[in-house]
Symmetry: C2
Subunit: 190 residues, 2 copies
Amino acid sequence: MDELRKNINSIISISDKDWAILKPMFVYKAIKKNEFFLLEGKHSNTVFYVIKGAFRVFTVVDGEERDWHFHFEGNWGSDYESFLTNRPSRFSIQAMEDAEILTLSRDSMHALYNTDAKFERIGRIIAEQLFLFARNRGMDFLLQNPEDRYLKLIKEYPNIFNRVPLYHIASYLGIKGPSLSRIRRRLSEK
Amino acid sequence: MDELRKNINSIISISDKDWAILKPMFVYKAIKKNEFFLLEGKHSNTVFYVIKGAFRVFTVVDGEERDWHFHFEGNWGSDYESFLTNRPSRFSIQAMEDAEILTLSRDSMHALYNTDAKFERIGRIIAEQLFLFARNRGMDFLLQNPEDRYLKLIKEYPNIFNRVPLYHIASYLGIKGPSLSRIRRRLSEK
DNA sequence: CGCCAGGTTGAAGCGCTTCAACGTCTGTGG
DNA sequence: CCACAGACGTTGAAGCGCTTCAACCTGGCG
């Protein structure tokens, strides 16, 4: 909970009084490996803050899972589109490790906005961060080939192999397992 | 200017008094066809609202232009990443037709936030809209092939051919001119 | 009229996919 | 404790779609 306060405090400065308002709005949840936080088609009414663990956000196309986003400690997660628009989620969210999160419901969030408009800033900053992620992700596809995307990913998350199996990484990169295998081989031979 | 007020009013309700604050912060600009609103590497200190015209947002990779986004009437534009983070822009923005816009500087925007926190909502909503665009764009690359992306684009903008040349459309779809040409031929033969 | 930008088409090449086989590691039950 | 099954990853061969390069067509405009 302390780290959450620290994280939010980096967005807007939080007095003890503010914290007294905020704290009770978050609900703690433990999620076991392979369990789902959200299923495609359901409504996403919460955002969550990852205390511990790793999640993947994916959707299914022609019977095949495609990973869109990974979440680790300190990240804010959710299907933010569904959260914003109140439409059914286009993603499922699954824990890849035993995990602990703090959830915040849409109602709480709007209550916050109405309590004090300065809390708008929290929503704005989360939206901005998710925007930057999505835009970078899109640009990576537009501008880079799979090998470049792979190199960028391992540069950003050097330990990702310890936490995410290669076939999920391949899916995230937009390619199939065998292709990732061949890319890795090619790189190791250089 | 009236349409702008209408547009903003759909975000937060605007009283005449609010509008008296907002209005003078927007600066009108006319931009001729092929002129640049922003050059890659420069800082983007404004967002703009398109009154009239068409823009493309693109970057250069290996000497080749790649189109990331088109803006038409009623859209909010900018390199929002640069605007947010105050880093040099990764995009250039060019008018594809004679255009008219209203610009809003970062300073004005922050002044607005400080005048009345309810204006935070404007920034939040713009961020959310750009987030949804970027996320959909990224997902299109992850989930769809070029033909699907093409079909989606013309479904959304049936008249886009009248305003955007095919080689920009190809670039936007992440393919080369000849490939788009062949896709269109394939579809017309069905 | 002639030029040039925008678009189409053909042929060859390359990278990712597909399908299938095989290797390796780990966990589980006998 | 061993044996086996299943999950994960690698590899080979064939196929397909986009790219590349080049030739060619067309319409608009000086």
